[in-house]
């Protein structure tokens, strides 16, 4: 597969960017990811992941509107690029394929 390697954390960030649909920026992403995954994620980790994703061409960004609670500063809004979308799809496909090939699918633990 000839594409940039995507780390697990990056994948989650990328997916979350896609989920937030144009409203993805640092703080929003942080809170969303904390909520959804229960990890203790920090702002700088999100930022660095976003930078890496942008360098890899998975997301693109533009500056949004300034808000009062940001002290009049603009936010950088991220959207997933076509390449990013394809990458996410490919990852999903790989996983689905692998899951489907399980001869003995995992049974719910309750059956024990």
């Amino acid at each position: 597969m000839k594409r940039s390697y995507l780390g697990e954390f990056e994948e989650i960030v990328l997916l979350t960017v896609a989920v937030l649909e144009g409203q993805a920026y640092g703080v929003a992403l942080t809170h969303e990811i904390i909520e959804q995954t229960g990890r203790s994620v920090r702002l700088n980790q999100i930022h660095s992941a976003l930078q890496r994703l942008e360098e890899k061409g998975m997301v693109k960004s533009e500056m949004g509107e300034p808000t009062a609670e940001r002290g009049g500063r603009r936010k950088r809004l991220f959207t997933v690029t076509a390449y990013g979308r394809r990458t996410l799809q490919e990852i999903q496909e790989v996983r689905v394929t692998l899951w489907s090939r399980l001869l003995h699918p995992f049974k719910p633990a309750t059956s024990l």
């Binding site: 640092g26 702002l43 930022h47 660095s48 500056m63 609670e69 500063r73």
Partner: protein, 888 residues
């Protein structure tokens, strides 16, 4: 939207930290996010907690920034950069450099030849200095060996000498023994002849105490360090043993020293190398033997003569001490022992360490003032200067060609060379030239070394196997390459491509100024060297032409080294006179070119009681005056007609002046002490006879009559016969009467000439260096002139077309250089004058520095300059203008 709680806001310090260290492009979004998060956290967990989290996040961002800056840098250049020094580029640099060299053959030749000459000179001087500095290091205990000297005060002046009294050796050994490892008494090194049956050889040798071989750490080839234990033994150097015994076993063989001492060879040692004090000493015999050989030495021993300074003493200080403390301890070792009437001389004992023997043995009024080390410095400077001259040539020629190469630099820059690459290229060019020059210089040194050794009286060899030589050579080459290449590399690479390529590039009015300054420096150095050389030469000539007060033509001397010589005086004199080969024959206590004996304790009527009387004393036989041809100012010569002449003396003018007496002839002088007081009567005063140093005033000297105290036979050859014929007859007579001694004679004028050896050596070396300096300077001038001529070809063409004559053009081109030489002259004259008058100060009898020396060297340099420049300027002036103007 919920109403905002009033807070103190996020921590200011953290904010500022972020502003200071974060990427300015992402600062806004980052700070925005942080602030938004802060507000959120304030609502959720309160301000205190929020501030803490804010700090945490800021630090997180700073960490991020650190990593970012690293990754960003890596990505700035999408192409792989070429390192400034890569093998490929290096090969390219060298190739281009080589092509450039071949393309401009004249420039390259001038550059390489000039640099090679400069480097060869520097290398020769380096070898010379190495040789001087490593003097005596052959001896393992080099650092702890010293000679014992003494200061003595006489008539208010401190004289320092290495002659010490006999009992001092024992004194140091018994009273101060703990300070010394070895105490070694020694005779003066002198020529003796060794005989094995019929075979006789004359060698320089020394009589020394038993510890000498151990102290000097001689390398014994046969026998042991204890070879001098028995009084009748001798240690031979390898070459001496070879000369006497050939391939036969020398050990335990019996030989004779000076026909009077029978000794057994107890050891053979490796020859001490030439650059050591003992390099000339070819055998060592026991001190005891020396003491036994002469009555006066035994007397000095038995009577503890503290006033008779006739011996040498060497010591090795003990390992646990140093010179300073030993010096302090033994300062009064002599003063404590001398009789009351000699206390006034304030004898002070001082150690002169071996490392100073060669280079720092001059004392002036009790203070060390240097010595040969001055010449080491001087020559070091000269070498550096000559090398500098060569480097200046290189720089000048390179910058002179800069306009030609400016286009090359422009294009290289335009197609993407960075400055570093250009610097590298120019440096590789200079290194290439320097390496060629280094090779050539090695060759030159090899060729010149035998001649140089002869002039400098050295036995320097190339230190091929010495890693230090190669380290030094390499460092020296790199240094030269760097110095010579630095200016072109930094100057040429600074050109701006736009200016150069637009064609508006002009070197500017002042571009030639550094070049001119360098030329002036060159000629200043050359001129100063020439002036110095002339002054040295002048001084030597002046001293050589000094009136000597006797006639040295056909004057021959033979040292009476063996007892056989004595008692043959009349026999030899009558026989040789009858044969008509000599005019006169006389004996004396000193050779005609030296005074071996100085004495004090003279008294006369009207003498200042505080005056320490110190006279040179020479014992002569009746016809000494006739033999050497001394000239009387008043009074008469010794005569056989007066029997009373056995107590007659002849003075020289200096002595009369020293004694401060009006009518010397007839004055009675008493000499001696107590009961031994003898009276002498002055019968004549001669004009000063120059017997010792030609640079010092003639010492007050007394000539006494004696047939016993003599060591030398002096003969005046018959001028009517050829010297060869005379010598054959004389040799035959000597062989007949003194069969066992070798016939070793010396001509007085040759011996006199030897006194100038040191100055002549320096003069020759200075001439050599000055010549090379001028050569190098002219080489540079030649290159510069050709460049200027070439640069102005068009101008010359136009001038010619408009009617300028060749003479006009010649003066146009030469004028600039003449001005530079004149400026150099103005700088060099006072500088040279200052240094040379300082040099002359060391001689009492010295020539004056007269104005013609400066004028002559100035005019000489000017002529050479004009000749050099004219070659190029006339060549340029003769070019057909059609040729130079056709293009364009």
């Amino acid at each position: 939207m919920s109403p905002q709680p009033r807070t103190g806001g996020p921590p200011r310090l953290a904010d500022r930290l972020l502003e200071r260290f974060c990427d300015p492009y992402t600062l806004e979004e980052m700070q925005g996010d942080l602030h938004e998060e802060f507000q959120y956290q304030v609502r959720r967990v309160g301000e205190r907690q929020a501030r803490w989290r804010y700090w945490r996040d800021v630090l997180g961002f700073l960490k991020l920034r650190a990593r970012q800056s690293f990754t960003r840098k890596k990505q700035q250049n999408t192409y792989p950069t070429t390192p400034l020094i890569s093998p490929d580029m290096l090969r390219n640099y060298l190739k281009i450099a080589l092509r450039n060299l071949v393309k401009h053959k004249t420039y390259s030749a001038i550059n390489i030849a000039g640099l090679a000459t400069g480097m060869a000179v520097a290398m020769l001087i380096g070898l010379w200095i190495w040789d001087e500095l490593s003097f005596n290091t052959y001896h393992k205990n080099y650092d702890r060996i010293a000679q014992v000297w003494q200061h003595q005060t006489s008539n208010g002046e401190v004289f320092t000498g290495k002659a010490i009294p006999f009992p001092l050796g024992k004194e140091l050994q018994t009273k101060y023994g703990s300070s010394f490892q070895y105490v070694v008494m020694s005779s003066w090194e002198g020529e003796h002849f060794l005989s094995l049956g019929e075979k006789k050889i004359t060698k320089e040798g020394s009589f020394m105490d038993v510890d000498a071989p151990r102290m000097l750490t001689l390398h014994m080839l046969k026998g042991s360090y204890d070879g001098l234990k028995e009084p009748n033994s001798i240690l031979l150097s390898e070459t001496t043993a070879q000369a006497l015994f050939g391939d036969r076993e020398p050990l335990n063989q019996l030989i004779k020293i000076d026909n009077k001492m029978d000794v057994r060879v107890t050891g053979v040692y490796e020859d001490v190398p030439h650059n050591a004090q003992y390099g000339k000493v070819k055998f060592i015999a026991p001190w005891e033997l020396y003491v036994a050989s002469e009555k006066w030495i035994q007397r000095a021993r038995d009577n503890s003569h503290w006033g008779d300074n006739s011996f040498q003493l060497f010591v090795q200080i003990a390992d646990n001490t140093d010179y300073e403390s030993v010096n302090k301890r033994i300062l009064n070792a002599k003063l404590n022992n001398v009789p009351a009437n000699e206390k006034k001389f304030k004898a002070a004992i001082v150690l002169n360490p071996m490392r100073d023997w060669r280079l720092r043995s001059n004392w002036e009024n009790g203070v060390k003032t240097g010595g040969m080390i001055d010449y080491v410095w001087l020559f070091g400077f000269i070498g550096l200067f000559v090398l500098l001259l060569a480097c200046i040539n290189f720089m000048n020629l390179s910058t002179a060609r800069s306009e030609k190469r400016a286009k090359e630099v422009g294009i290289r820059k335009a197609v993407g060379s960075v400055r570093g690459q250009l610097v590298n290229q120019f440096f590789s060019e200079s290194f290439l030239v320097v390496f060629f020059a280094f090779g050539l210089a090695l060759l030159l040194v090899l060729l010149v070394l035998p001649w140089f050794n002869q002039v400098a009286d050295k036995r320097i060899t190339m230190l091929w196997t010495n890693p230090l030589f190669w380290t030094f050579g390499l460092g020296f080459t790199l240094f030269t390459g760097f110095v010579a290449g630095s200016y072109p590399a930094l100057y040429l690479s600074s050109f701006q491509p736009v200016k150069v390529l637009k064609g508006t590039f002009r070197a500017g009015r002042f571009a030639a100024v550094p070049r001119k300054v360098l030329v002036v420096v060159q000629f200043t150095v050359s001129l100063a060297l020439i002036i110095g050389t002339i002054i040295i030469y002048n001084q030597i000539q002046y001293s050589k032409n000094r009136p000597i007060g006797y006639n040295r033509d056909g004057l021959l001397m033979i040292e009476m080294k063996s007892p056989e010589f004595y008692g043959k005086f009349d026999l030899l004199r009558t026989e040789l006179k009858n044969a008509g080969v000599i005019q006169e024959l006389a004996e004396s206590s000193s050779p005609i070119t030296d005074v071996w004996s100085n004495s004090g304790g003279f008294h006369w009527q009207g003498k200042d009681p505080n005056l320490d009387t110190d006279f040179g004393t020479v014992w002569v036989t009746h016809e000494f005056g006739k033999t050497v041809g001394w000239q009387f100012k008043e009074g008469r010569d010794f005569s056989r007609e007066f029997t009373s002449d056995s107590s007659a003396i002849v003075l020289n003018e200096a002595a009369v002046k020293f004694m401060n007496i009006k009518n010397p002839v007839g004055t009675v002088i008493r000499w001696g002490s107590g009961e031994n007081m003898t009276e002498y009567k002055i019968i004549g005063v001669i004009k000063d006879m120059l017997m010792s140093s030609p640079y010092e005033p003639v010492k007050q000297t007394i000539y006494l009559m004696s047939y016993h105290n003599v060591n030398w036979i002096n003969m005046k050859l018959n001028p009517a016969k050829s010297a060869n014929e005379c010598l054959t007859t004389i040799e035959a007579a000597f062989k007949k009467h003194i069969p066992t001694a070798p016939f070793d004679y010396k001509f007085a004028d040759e011996e006199f000439g030897k006194k100038f050896a040191h100055e002549e050596r320096i003069g020759k070396l200075a001439t050599f260096f000055a010549g090379l300096a001028i050569f190098i300077s002219c080489l540079g001038l030649f290159g510069l002139a050709s460049f200027v001529a070439e640069q102005r070809t068009k101008e010359i063409g136009i001038r010619k077309v408009l009617g300028a004559s060749v003479l006009n053009l010649w003066s146009l081109l030469s004028k600039d250089f003449v001005i530079l030489v004149i400026i150099a002259f103005v700088i060099a004259t006072p500088t040279a004058w200052y240094f040379m008058s300082h040099w002359l100060d060391q001689y009492e009898y010295r020539s004056e520095i007269s104005w013609w020396i400066f004028v002559a060297s100035g005019i000489g340099t000017l002529v050479v300059t004009l000749l050099t420049v004219s070659f190029q300027s006339i060549k340029a002036a003769l070019i057909n203008p059609v040729k130079s103007l056709r293009s364009e």
